[in-house]
Symmetry: C2
Subunit: 245 residues, 2 copies
DNA sequence: GGGGAGAGATGCCGC
DNA sequence: GCGGCATTTCTCCCC
């Protein structure tokens, strides 16, 4: 395709807010929250209906460079070469793509109003434990959802069988030192707000790293193994979570 | 394009490890680490040379669904409809895309061996402070890089002018409670390992949230305002970082 | 708009 | 492979 034709079609397509795909050999330079430079190589550039621009290399799942919605884009032809320039004046971000060769170029109007439905999150874990408190231990009684929010961002808290206030932090992944830090912050906050000497802290997650376990022991906190529930489960039928709750 | 032609071209292109772009109206279903469902809408599907698959909606910078490198993909035509199915047996992940309409479809061999060069990261901040310790305070002496690693993932540590061991945690963004927690973990680790009563903790970042400041005061730690360096700086010339170090 | 926290986080580097 | 951590994180929720 003639570069002049590309420029014209691209400007026109941008005006109509269409999805634009450009596969090309290029360099990419970014300046804004950080600075980056990516030397010559083959990439796919996508300009979306909401003016988001992403640059993908032929590997990896995330864009190597991007400009968020609210940016403006235009083609510039100089003696030095052909540039696709993006800028976001509000955030002082700039992205310059120098285009050497175009492999293909497509554009089309697109509409998508749907949001993704997701199951198996940390929130799902907390809900499952709330409805099945014996997963933590016999005699554990979660407090109501309203009580819960009064203390801020605590996943679950309630009373154990000995009536000791207990804070539970859920993680859908392997518990690590950061998770223990978070639990610690919440336990200390509840202690302070309630004026209590003893508050139990429990980390509920599928597994735990050695250093996190060590930190739990040091602080007198506990670990309970819980896996996040997957409502739409089809393949891994043997998973040890509560089904159909 | 005939769906049969699409299927043939896609299978062929997959064999050759080309970059594939498919814009279509579809639904997306995922099962693996979690479960998700995305109902009908227009999306761009990209299958990369390394077998990564990403699904992009017409807005936002990140893929709404994806399969990582190592997955296999194929077209399946049933009485119910046309499916692009991906699976990764090693990680027990499955992605099923039901295709209703194709807007465009392209593929091309791509090669890109280059890595991005990035400036303005936390590591860059730490390097800058290491070489310009007076940015923290007069008389601060960082220890060698080797000493540094002995204590784990501590950005910088060294001695202040009164010879008190000091731990510095750098953040390229506004310091928050999590950053203070991290600093605290490192200070306490150094205290324990070295058997010291007094170790200073400094959070070095451009700014700080009110709650983080409060936490620093409580713990007896300090805040020093430092911005990450941007080597390729072109636009914001007034930024208060050390240039050309 | 800022603060707080999750994410199918991803990606990087270390052991 | 796991572990520990940064990320131009992004995104959502809530004040």
């Amino acid at each position: 395709m003639e570069i002049q034709t590309l420029a014209w079609k691209l400007e026109d397509s941008l005006k109509r807010g269409e999805m634009i795909i450009l596969a090309c050999h290029c360099t990419v330079e970014y300046s804004g929250r950080a600075e980056s430079y990516l030397s010559e190589g083959d990439r796919v550039i996508m300009i979306k209906s909401d003016s988001t621009l992403v640059v993908h290399q032929p590997n990896g799942s995330n864009p190597i460079n991007y400009m968020k919605s609210g940016s403006s884009h235009h083609i510039e032809m100089t003696d030095e070469g052909v540039y696709l320039r993006s800028q976001n004046l509000a955030t002082k971000e700039y992205l310059d793509i120098r285009i050497f060769r175009v492999y293909f170029f497509d554009y089309h109007a697109m509409e998508d109003t749907k949001s993704i439905e997701l199951a198996g999150t940390e929130k799902d874990m907390a809900d499952m434990i709330f409805k099945n408190p014996e997963m933590i231990e016999k005699g554990f009684t979660p407090l109501s959802q309203e009580e819960h929010t009064k203390f801020g961002f605590i996943d679950i808290f309630g009373y154990d069988k000995k009536n000791i206030l207990t804070v539970i932090e859920c993680k859908r992944y392997t518990g690590d030192p950061k998770a223990v830090d978070q639990l610690r912050r919440y336990v200390e906050k509840v202690k302070k707000v309630k004026g209590l000497k003893k508050v139990r802290g429990i980390l509920a997650c599928p597994s735990i790293t050695a250093s996190a376990k060590e930190m739990l022991l040091e602080r007198g906190y506990e670990f309970v193994s819980v896996k996040p529930p997957k409502y739409l489960e089809r393949y891994d039928k043997n998973q040890k979570t509560l089904e159909g709750f």
